[in-house]
């Protein structure tokens, strides 16, 4: 989608993306200084963003799209560090794949690395201390982070390309782009959520202490999931 966003909008999205990135890098430095064991976890969550965002999958609408894979990183490290990982992935894609460009990178970081993760993070905070099953929480967070990424993409395009005012302006464009991006995304988001919940189960089994130390889920929940309760 390179070249489609007018330069004014590119600048706007860059201005929103940059402070998030700076804050993310600051948080990342802090967490790596205090806890070296967080590095492998960062590798796993970042690795899944790399894998999943490269898979273009066919969907019910007869077009293809790819998942984002940001959910795990949102749960483990919060939205800002996720923005930094997304920026790296998106930079790779715009340099080598012409999949998004340098000028629209800001817009892509906002949709994939800021709004999607923020939506997921809000859900995670709301559900973390409730009775709801831990893996179900992971599933909902991952699926929503994915879906909201594409909501945002649709909104970015609708703002830049509103339909003529007499047929509904920005709103009608938004619905149009939602039809293209978000509907395609629904089945992908569901599968992504389930797969990442499974990955989270393996992390719980192999390395529960890092999850406890970062206070990702309450101790009782992790113990119960490991069958120790």
């Amino acid at each position: 989608m390179e070249g489609f966003l007018p330069w004014q909008w590119c600048v706007v999205w860059w201005i929103i993306a940059l402070p998030c990135l700076v804050f993310g890098i600051y948080q990342l430095k802090k967490i790596l200084e205090t806890d070296r064991d967080a590095l492998p976890l960062l590798g796993v969550t970042g690795g899944f963003i790399f894998i999943l965002s490269s898979l273009k999958l066919p969907s019910v609408t007869g077009s293809c799209s790819h998942p984002t894979g940001t959910g795990l990183s949102v749960i483990c490290f919060g939205p800002w560090i996720t923005s930094v990982i997304c920026a790296i992935v998106l930079l790779f894609q715009s340099f080598f794949l012409a999949h998004g460009g340098l000028s629209v990178l800001g817009a892509n970081i906002v949709s994939m690395g800021v709004v999607g993760p923020l939506a997921g993070y809000a859900v995670y905070r709301a559900l973390r201390n409730t009775q709801i099953n831990m893996y179900l929480t992971v599933f909902i967070v991952c699926a929503l982070a994915d879906l909201f990424t594409y909501f945002t993409t649709s909104l970015e395009l609708a703002l830049a390309y509103p339909a003529p005012a007499e047929v509904g302006g920005v709103m009608s464009s938004f619905v149009l782009f939602m039809g293209i991006f978000a509907i395609t995304q629904v089945p992908l988001a569901i599968v992504e959520g389930i797969v990442l919940a499974l990955v989270f189960k393996y992390i719980v089994q192999l390395k529960p202490d890092i999850l406890l130390r970062l206070k990702i889920f309450p101790e009782e929940k992790i113990r119960a999931a490991r069958g120790e309760a």
Binding site: F50, C64, Q93, L176, I190
Partner: protein, 100 residues
């Protein structure tokens, strides 16, 4: 989790369901091209503005993979990099657990 492999089974069912959904839609929609939603979105913009798709050029020039094959190779490379990270860390944790 009452059943040990519950989540694995759900994941497997979801993937099978996803594949069969794909087979079903591709058999009833004979005109489906399975183009990227980016491509569909691009032509939508061209329709909205009345400008040809080719008129849209990136603001900052960039290298474009010369062919679809090269592009998919690079995408595979990206997935491989991610796979190496994931596999390495899980192996590292597994080893840590064994020696502990």
């Amino acid at each position: 989790m009452s059943f040990k492999y519950g989540l694995e089974i759900i994941a497997l069912l979801a993937i099978i369901g996803f594949c069969s959904l794909f087979l079903y839609t591709s058999s009833i929609m004979s005109d489906a091209e399975f183009a990227g939603s980016d491509t569909v979105g691009s032509s939508q913009i061209a329709e909205l503005t009345g400008k040809a798709e080719e008129d849209y050029q990136p603001l900052i020039g960039q290298w474009v993979p010369p062919s679809g094959e090269i592009e998919s190779a690079l995408f595979a490379l990206q997935a491989a990099i991610g796979g190496i990270f994931v596999g390495w860390v899980f192996g590292y944790w597994k080893g840590q657990k064994k020696t502990a």
